[in-house]
């Protein structure tokens, strides 16, 4: 049924060798002017591959990417002019300097939303540019002049043709490096945080580290273009690193298609060659360019060559299932958990216990504090008081991805999938709680787990479909499969039956039973009292943040306070809302 791997790879990657072969031939045929322009295209393509990591993969808007271009160029130029270094040793130094700069800009911005990133990165780009213009050592507004040409095997690279080949070699090297990166676990983590960083963090992706790596690696790739450009022009001119340059670099990925390497190539051609074509219209050059830009974006908001997700090659048969978690007994123990928002106490002294193989439910009217309690347990919001112990280890105050790694997986009330990714890739992200490696390819264990979890919830046939296109019920099941991929000891399900029809509810109950049979503890928030009473071992009832009843379903059901709170026993959140308003 599936095409052999080799054939697919040939189709998918055949384009690049062909393109490089074409470029090699073109180097012989083109004149100096065309080769100079082609060399510039390659410089921008390298910058594009760099910003593609930051913007395309990780979805972090960067309006100051020219800063890394500048840092690369100035580091290399200064080392050559002031310390007399040769070109080649300055290359790693430039990359290292950019990596440091990437970490410097990345670190304070980790907590910011993308719109704020726009202004902060823009500001960073301007700070770098203004600083090099103001300092004497960087040549002030003159920049650096008289940069010696690169020599390769005793041959000086001065002619446009030689430079074109040099740039091509750089481009191929950067392309190969980014292609490897695109297959690493890190690339999947980037795409997950781009789709929904809160959900990614909650299922075990160390979001801050992953974002920081995007800045650092993107900066390192982009920095390569700096020395190359300095060698091309023999000068480093600070006016080459303005906000406009940053915009042009950003446009390379947006026009091409975010996350798409062929798109970057197309974007670089458009950004560099289009103004060259427009030379003849003189003063209208900028205007034409701007109008074409708007046109491209309105016609192809996704880019000219959008990213297409790669199919995960799942094993034909799942390997042996992992050993069930070996610690029976109490897996989750919550004591006196409280959370106050200003004057409101959303959760007040909650205690909760779940043993291996048990299903424990938390019910209560809307606003009773159920989801807040979940968020405190999973580390998404810090609790004001109380303890959370997972399999004998306190996880209170840990960040969500550490809580997930400790063995606690969750789903969300409003389903939070990574919509741009395939079903199988969504499940794969759940694996980050188990295996935290980033800079290496997917392991056999990853793929085995994905296959097993998809099989478990019955979504194996949908493995390669985009998650965004799944019907509602399947989205719920996919979220559970993603949580299961973490091989959790405790699974928190937040209203998994919301919006489900009776048949789907039956299937869900069976699924929950199978999960608890694996030896995990399942904690459930649910409105459907009938469902809760039929599958739970213990039930906790919350009202206004306080626990009003706790015990086996039969006892709780007869508690007068529960009956009072649940007048009419609504099983639909909408009517539930009405009863609350009535009171």
């Amino acid at each position: 049924m599936r095409r052999p791997a080799g054939a697919e790879a040939a189709v998918r990657y055949g384009g690049w060798p062909l393109l490089v072969a074409l470029a090699l031939a073109a180097g012989q045929g083109l004149d100096d002017y065309a080769l100079t322009v082609a060399g510039t295209i390659l410089v921008y393509a390298i910058l594009g591959l760099g910003i593609n990591i930051v913007v395309g993969y990780a979805g972090l808007l960067d309006l100051g990417f020219a800063a890394f271009f500048a840092i690369g160029a100035y580091t290399s130029g200064l080392l050559m002019l002031k310390l007399g270094w040769g070109f080649w040793p300055t290359l790693p130094a430039s990359i290292a300097a950019a990596a440091v700069a990437g970490a410097v800009i990345g670190y304070p911005t980790l907590r910011l939303r993308s719109d704020y990133l726009a202004i902060v990165t823009l500001g960073f780009g301007e700070i770098i540019r203004i600083t090099v213009v103001n300092l004497e050592v960087t040549g002030g507004p003159n920049g650096l002049t008289g940069i010696p040409p690169v020599s390769v095997g005793g041959r000086q690279i001065v002619l446009p043709q030689d430079f074109f080949y040099l740039a091509l070699a750089f481009f191929v090297a950067v392309l190969a490096a980014t292609a490897l990166l695109a297959r690493s676990r890190l690339a999947y983590a980037w795409r997950a945080i781009r789709a929904d960083d809160t959900a990614a963090e909650a299922v075990g992706v160390p979001a801050r580290r992953v974002k920081l790596l995007a800045y650092v690696l993107g900066a390192m790739v982009g920095a390569v273009a700096g020395p190359l450009n300095a060698a091309q022009l023999g000068t480093v001119d600070p006016s080459s690193f303005t906000f406009l340059t940053s915009l042009m670099i950003l446009l390379v990925v947006i026009i091409g298609g975010m996350g798409s390497r062929p798109g970057v190539m197309i974007g670089a051609v458009v950004i560099v060659a289009l103004p060259e074509v427009l030379r003849t219209v003189q003063e209208y050059r900028g205007l034409f360019f701007a109008l074409l830009l708007i046109l491209i974006v309105i016609l192809r908001p996704q880019g000219v060559w959008p990213y297409r997700p790669r199919r995960l090659r799942l094993p034909d048969a799942a390997g042996p299932a992992p050993e069930p978690p070996s610690a029976p007994g109490t897996l989750l123990e919550v004591e006196g958990l409280s959370r106050r928002f200003g004057g409101v106490t959303a959760v007040d002294g909650l205690s909760l216990r779940a043993d291996a193989g048990q299903v424990v439910s938390v019910i209560g009217p809307n606003g009773a504090g159920k989801t807040t309690a979940f968020n405190c347990i999973t580390g998404m919001i810090p609790p004001s008081a109380g303890t959370v112990v997972l399999a004998g280890r306190s996880v209170r105050g840990l960040s969500p991805h550490r809580v997930a790694a400790a063995g606690l997986a969750r789903t969300f009330q409003s389903i939070r999938l990574f919509d741009g990714m395939t079903v199988a890739e969504n499940v794969l992200i759940g694996r980050f709680a188990r295996d935290r490696g980033l800079l290496r390819p997917l392991s056999r264990a990853d793929l085995d787990a994905v296959r097993r979890c998809l099989d478990f919830v019955g979504l194996l046939d949908a493995a390669d479909r985009p998650a965004g296109g799944l019907p509602y019920g399947d989205r719920r099941r996919l979220e559970i499969a993603r949580a299961l991929a973490a091989e959790p000891r405790v699974l928190l399900l937040d209203e998994p039956a919301a919006g489900a029809n009776p048949t789907e509810k039956q299937a869900l109950m069976a699924l929950i039973a199978r999960i608890s049979a694996l030896g995990a503890a399942v904690v459930l928030i649910e409105h459907d009292v009938a469902l809760v009473m039929s599958i739970s071992d213990r039930v906790t009832v919350l009202e206004y943040g306080r626990t009003i009843a706790e015990g086996p379903p039969a006892e709780v059901q007869d508690d007068p306070r529960v009956i009072a709170a649940y007048l009419g026993v609504p099983d639909d959140p909408e009517t539930d809302l009405v009863t609350e308003v009535l009171r």
Binding site: P108, A118, V120, I130, L251, I294, P301
Partner: protein, 299 residues
């Protein structure tokens, strides 16, 4: 000490402009979640529309005041129309596209406006008639001109009018509702597209009025005049907590003061480094700006 007061006066003048322009960024962001990159250029269009009006009417002698009033009105209405037109043509069609597409469209519009005016004016500067060259209020150690006073008063009046509009009218309330939750607002029967256009109209109106005032005060205008001031106004909007109108006004004045004092006590060369450094520091400590944003992020 007298220099300190002079820096203060100059900073407040600059801040009045920045606040007016920053409000447009803030309002539009609140409603559309779009950093309207073209906003600085809308400001520039306003300055040119006012210039055209003044040139046509002539601003000398007894005609000066009516001509100035006409110029402010024409400038503001022109940019109101231009802003709404831009929103209709380049933003509304992309509302359901990825956010970045919208941003790039805004950048495209910004470049197009700048380049369009550049072609029309042959990239040359234009100078307003020196209409506001009236006398000084104080001219001892510290100098304050009537022009500065008029400018600050007009800015305050416009900002107060905006504040009343946003808090006291149905449209303003609908705007705030839209800023909080677009889907819920739509369910409540708010015509989202119309409201977005109204927001663009008002935001651009303010920018246009600021553009004409700028022309009257500084006299010299050009196609590129919107870039730097737009950038700083945008910084002010973010610093104040984007979407938070009072915060934006305060931050606009603050940036104006920073611009003035940094030129006085450090060096004008480092002004932007100081402004952006301050911004990064504030955001690192308070990720939603000095005064917190009023936009609710749905979990």
């Amino acid at each position: 000490m007298t220099e300190f007061v002079q820096y203060l006066v100059n900073g407040l003048t600059i801040g009045a402009f920045l606040s007016l322009i920053a409000l447009g960024y803030s309002m539009i962001y609140g409603v559309v979640r779009l950093i309207n990159f073209a906003h600085g250029d809308v400001f520039m269009i306003g300055a040119f529309a006012g210039f055209g009006t003044l040139t046509a009417l002539g601003a000398t002698g007894g005609m000066a005041l009516p001509a100035i009033v006409a110029a402010v009105l024409v400038g503001a209405l022109t940019t109101g129309a231009v802003g709404t037109g831009i929103a209709k043509a380049a933003y509304v069609p992309l509302l359901s596209s990825p956010r970045l597409a919208l941003l790039i469209s805004a950048i495209g519009v910004s470049l197009a406006l700048e380049e369009g005016v550049k072609v029309l004016t042959h990239a040359r500067f234009k100078s307003y008639p020196n209409a506001l060259d009236g006398g000084r209020i104080f001219s001892g150690a510290v100098h304050v001109t009537w022009g500065q006073l008029a400018l600050v008063v007009l800015s305050v009046v416009l900002m107060a009018a905006l504040w009343l509009f946003v808090t006291r009218t149905m449209t303003g309330t609908a705007m705030r509702a839209l800023a909080m939750d677009r889907d819920a607002a739509r369910l409540q029967g708010i015509n989202v597209e119309r409201l977005i256009l109204v927001t663009f109209f008002i935001g651009s109106l303010l920018a246009g009025a600021a553009g004409v005032m700028y022309g009257l005060y500084y006299v010299q205008i050009s196609f590129g005049m919107g870039f730097l001031i737009g950038l700083r106004a945008f910084t002010a909007a973010v610093l104040g907590g984007i979407g938070n109108l009072p915060g934006t006004m305060v931050a606009g004045v603050a940036i104006g003061l920073v611009q003035s004092f940094s030129a006085g006590y450090v060096s004008s060369r480092w002004t932007d480094v100081i402004i952006f450094g301050l911004l990064i520091a504030v955001l690192a400590l308070r990720p939603t700006g000095l005064f917190g944003e009023r936009v609710v992020e749905r979990a």
